[in-house]
């Protein structure tokens, strides 16, 4: 399925992010083989040169490993994947807090709302 891209960020970085999301969500497993550069370029609808850059970047960040003549594989290093999870969590929390404090909410208000939200859902499930 073709992806939709934000206009203010390089496409290759957006595809790298998509790949990280897929790994964290468990849509791609440790050790999984990725499609070839061209296959994935066709699937996503981008220039193969851009996709080549995505694969280079993923390798450089050790999220994937390219084995000569065999293809590119998701890392099977649990620690790396755990790190990706943590980074992603931190990023979403940061952006959430920036938005909320920007709207004028205090940290206390935010935390109490989250507690209420959490309490609310667990109450529902108890009934």
């Amino acid at each position: 399925m073709p992806l939709h891209f934000q206009s203010d960020k390089p496409i290759y970085l957006q595809i790298v992010d998509t790949m990280i999301h897929e790994i964290v969500r468990g849509r791609r497993f440790p050790g999984d083989k990725l499609p070839s550069v061209r296959e994935y370029a066709v699937e996503v609808g981008v220039n193969p040169n851009t996709m080549q850059r995505v694969y280079r970047e993923l390798d450089a960040r050790q999220i994937t490993k390219t084995k000569r003549g065999q293809g590119t594989f998701v890392t099977d290093d649990e620690e790396t994947i755990q790190q990706l999870r943590e980074q992603l969590k931190q990023r979403y929390i940061d952006s959430f807090l920036t938005d909320m404090t920007g709207l004028g909410f205090t940290i206390e208000e935010i935390i109490s709302s989250i507690d209420k939200e959490k309490g609310g859902t667990s109450d529902d499930s108890n009934q």
């Binding site: 891209f5 206009s7 390089p10 290759y12 061209r38 609808g45 040169n49 851009t50 850059r53």
Partner: protein, 225 residues
């Protein structure tokens, strides 16, 4: 790499190209953009060897006969209306050594076209796809498409863009295309070249526009123009 240096072209008193300078790197997909009448088509014709420039030079095309180096699709229709698609493919196979029949057949299938259909009976969308098929089935080092997406519906546009990604061999080939469909082609292009009033005012990599200017191609063009 193809280098265009100080190319100018005049029709009687009309100066259509003025001191054009640009570089086309091997293996890239390059978009030539700019308002109607700014000289994009004329520049392609000069590159294709159909027009002779009054001044300037073009380096990097190592053939006396440009049509051996360049597979060019003009924006008007130019196929015999009484040909079938199959006859058209046979014709191109006879004329061009680099015509890859297997690639042509795969494209035919990809575009869901019928071999036996006559050119004159094709819809606009089908005719657009046949032009792409014939042009990119060649293994020529430089492919040039003039307005390949103009006037086509969004589905056909996407199909054509996919075909360019899937069938062009960027290890061996380079693509230069003119277009106004910036939103659609943005993920396809490596580089963009901007023309205005017969000259080239800007050349940039698309990813660096996003990275440095943090805007879309469309927005960047509006700022540049």
């Amino acid at each position: 790499m193809i280098q265009i240096s100080n190319v100018s072209k005049r029709y009687s008193i009309h100066q259509v190209l003025k001191q054009c300078n640009m570089t086309i790197e091997k293996g890239k997909i390059v978009g030539l953009i700019g308002e109607n009448g700014c000289g994009k088509t004329t520049l392609l014709k000069v590159l294709a060897g159909i027009l002779r420039p009054n001044h300037g030079r073009i380096d990097g095309i190592h053939e006396n006969d440009r049509s051996r180096f360049i597979s060019y699709s003009p924006d008007n229709s130019y196929f015999y209306p009484y040909f079938t698609i199959e006859a058209l493919m046979d014709f191109y196979q006879d004329v061009y050594e680099d015509f890859d029949r297997d690639r042509a057949e795969s494209l035919l299938h990809f575009f869901e076209l019928e071999k036996k259909q006559k050119i004159r009976h094709l819809s606009k969308g089908q005719a657009g796809r046949v032009k792409i098929l014939i042009t990119i089935a060649r293994r020529a080092p430089l492919l040039m498409l003039d307005e390949p997406l103009a006037g086509l519906d969004p589905m056909v546009k996407q199909k054509i863009i996919k075909s360019l990604i899937q069938f062009i061999d960027l290890e061996q080939q380079t693509l230069l295309m003119t277009t106004h469909e910036l939103m659609e082609v943005e993920p396809l292009l490596d580089d963009v070249v901007v023309m205005k009033h017969g000259t080239i005012i800007e050349q940039s990599s698309v990813e660096s526009i996003r990275e440095n200017d943090m805007v879309s191609l469309q927005q960047w063009l509006e700022n540049t123009y």
